[in-house]
Amino acid sequence: MALDQQLLEILACPQCKGDLEYDRGNEKLICHKCRLKYSIKDDIPIMLIDEAEKF
């Protein structure tokens, strides 16, 4: 199952509220502005700033 398209349209970075890029291959949502990668587990993006991976 892929990420729900309706959810993708309304999701934003919880820190800057800006756009996210969906990296399908690595199952991540990426905020380029904050340089944070949010993991997707069981088709649910984990949108916690503290648990996001910095890059």
Binding site: D4, Q6, L7, I10, A12, C13, M47, I49
Partner: protein, 266 residues
């Protein structure tokens, strides 16, 4: 472990307990919340801190879509299971922190939140975030336990709650709820206070996973409560268990803008 991680861990651990909780499954506060929400078929709604999804699934049959969000992924699994059992296909589970919502501005017609803000570390952040994600004219409907107006009752109730559950922050007074909505720029439309009479001690401490050594202290606070507190909270020691009642508030506040404006002074 920081405070937010502690809240998340607590609800990961206790998710199943909440699924079987009669208090959370329904009752008067959920009925009143649904009434006050004035649900419309075109509404895109967000249920914040959905827990096991009772509120999201009560709203879902009457609206276009419900995003059910929670800090604890285990709760979202329970939400998905409940939606599936009820044949609801418009409930989308999404992980989110109520105080830093991962949604764009102005995307929801309605935000609901039930029996949860007393766990929020910064409830004003939740109110500000709600204002941000609501469309102009969108409404917030909240139901939560509240404390009585008298200082002694307020202090006792919150002391008891913190003892029973370390993730409890505060049961707010009805006036405090109204001030928080005002400060976030939401216009208070209607609010009411009720009494949830179905509280039972043993189920209550089991749900929060209260450590055995603390359970006796919690019990003692209830059984040794003053006559005034006994009356306020209808504390009764019966053969089966200690029965008591918790006040709760249900209110609706609206984001003004677009075709919505305030008439007259506030």
């Amino acid at each position: 472990m920081n405070a937010k991680t502690r809240v998340k861990a607590q609800f990961e651990r206790q998710a199943k307990q909440y699924t079987v909780s009669a208090v959370h499954a329904g009752g008067e506060s959920l009925d009143r919340l649904v009434d006050l929400a004035e649900l419309r078929p075109e509404d895109v709604t967000l249920d914040v801190a959905t827990g096991t999804g009772f509120t999201a699934c009560a709203v879902a049959p009457f609206v276009r879509r419900v995003v059910a969000s929670d800090l604890a992924p285990a709760m979202l699994n329970e939400t998905r299971a409940l939606a599936a059992r009820r044949g609801l296909t418009n409930v989308l589970a999404q992980h989110a922190d109520a105080e830093a919502l991962p949604f764009r501005d102005r995307v929801f017609d309605l935000v609901t939140c039930r029996t949860a803000p007393h766990h929020f570390l910064d409830p004003m952040a939740f109110f500000r975030e709600t204002h941000r994600v609501l469309k102009p004219g969108g409404r917030l409907v909240v139901s939560d336990t509240c404390s009585p107006d008298d200082d002694a009752g307020d202090a006792w109730m919150n002391r008891l709650e913190v003892l029973r559950d370390a993730t409890h922050i505060r049961n707010y007074r009805p006036g405090e709820w109204r001030r928080m909505a005002d400060q976030a720029g939401l216009v208070w439309e209607t609010g009411e206070v009720g009494l949830r009479q179905s509280m039972r001690f043993q189920e209550w401490v089991a749900r929060s996973g209260t450590p055995p050594e603390v359970i006796e202290d919690v019990r003692r606070m209830l059984t040794k409560a003053s006559p005034a507190l006994r009356e306020t909270f209808q504390i009764e020691e019966r053969e089966d268990d200690i029965h008591f009642a918790w006040p709760y508030v249900v209110f609706r506040a609206r984001k003004i803008g677009g075709q919505w404006s305030v008439i007259g002074g506030r």
